[in-house]
Symmetry: C2
Subunit: 302 residues, 2 copies
Amino acid sequence: MSLLVTGSIAIDSVKTPHGSVENVLGGSAVYFCFAASYFTKPRLVCAVGEDFPDEFRKVLESRSIDLAGLEVRKGSKTFRWQGQYVGDMNEAETTGIDLNILIEKNAAIPPEFSDSKVVFLAATHPTAQRDFLDQVPGCKLSVADTRDLWIDNERESLIKTLGVVDGVIINDGEARQLTDKVNLIEAAEALLEMGPKFVVVKKGEHGAILLTESGPTVIPAYPTKDVKDPTGAGDSFAGGMLGYLAETVDVTDESLRRAIIRGTVVASLTIEDFSLNRISGVTREEVDQRVRDFIKMLRIDG
Amino acid sequence: MSLLVTGSIAIDSVKTPHGSVENVLGGSAVYFCFAASYFTKPRLVCAVGEDFPDEFRKVLESRSIDLAGLEVRKGSKTFRWQGQYVGDMNEAETTGIDLNILIEKNAAIPPEFSDSKVVFLAATHPTAQRDFLDQVPGCKLSVADTRDLWIDNERESLIKTLGVVDGVIINDGEARQLTDKVNLIEAAEALLEMGPKFVVVKKGEHGAILLTESGPTVIPAYPTKDVKDPTGAGDSFAGGMLGYLAETVDVTDESLRRAIIRGTVVASLTIEDFSLNRISGVTREEVDQRVRDFIKMLRIDG
């Protein structure tokens, strides 16, 4: 099934205990597409400014990503984010942000993308998320992410969005913030009551919880010690998960769990280097090998 | 194989967001024995004071636990702990402590226990841990836990203990504290280099990491939303794990992983009520059912 993603493209500067990079390619939609491109050819819908470096465009072109929805807007500037991670690197601290094009009108979904069957709505204004979704009338599987900003300022609109999507992928802190539940299973249950058929709570280095009407499943993170930069882990997780699901006929508890394994594995690769450095050099065969290792690791015989 | 455990018996008072209890039975050796008793008949070695309530003794007698090593010491007082958990309840805060008998001489290992084949050394002075171990010359599998106090004050002695045991079961914060490694896989590697053949890092609600020379395995915690009191979770985990291993012929990566599943499940039961209330009422069949559910949850087909 064709997979469409809306989200941000960013120029990032990131500092972690393992080094730093300046003005590198980032953004939720970029990490998502790189991850998804192992399994399908995602359709990217996003606007950048005229300052968007040509070399970054070439990086995107080097992957199996449909760029028909990539708008380069005259007179606008690309979103920029500066952040750092300290200690256990479980949480990003934003040290600088230039929203730029993010506070202008959204990119339009090209007519040839309106037949997309799977739609991922990365964290943007919840009203914009529903607006995007309305432009894809034949969508079979819609999934949204969100973030603290929208929970704080657009809670009602966000709850409306959760009422119309099939799934939500959200991190632990935000799940707690949105539901006022400390226990993450209870938080996921509260989210499920808002409408979606499945909820995935991302716990960073501690893995993820999947909740459907059949109950909760827990999946740990793939154990890697080479964590250099967690930026994009959550979006890579979503990209790997939905990229895999887009190639699956049915969305069942079983296929969701298989998809989470893919998301987990691709995220574990993303964080092993800054920006897209690690994931750019990984082959499908390497992803598949890590998936096999991970499945074997989780298989307890008796 | 016969399983011997040394550790503490406590009279606990605990407060959590879900309620509070006063003067209830607790202590590392008690939680360990309750958990292990689902799989084997553990041999308890511990001293209590003459204030130890008769009803608590009866509670211990009601389980399959060999109490030949339970010393009631005249003129001494039982260890008492007061603690509370707030927020996500991931960390206990000690609000009061009366070490009492814990700072006196250790209980002696009865002669009939000296043929024990598996020994669990709950967190006590690392020199006392080695002294206990010396009294069990035929031990085939020795495993130690420790805590912040001994890492801070008895680091060298603790490193000696890690050099003579077969396994270590330690929580995440203490693994980091002892190794100065933030990444838990790196911390586990550093611990493995100190001598043991396996290292288990307990991550509370986030599960556990097993490291052997073949590499790391991650196991999530069993997802329960009925978390009332985390006291004893780590000791129940160790008890379930070693109780199961004591009934297993070989200690291999496979059997360690199966054992961790048992430890995880018994710990998930312990925390569903205060003190030993939940785990006291659980049958072996209920444990086995949760083990089967958990194994199925982790089994990803393709």
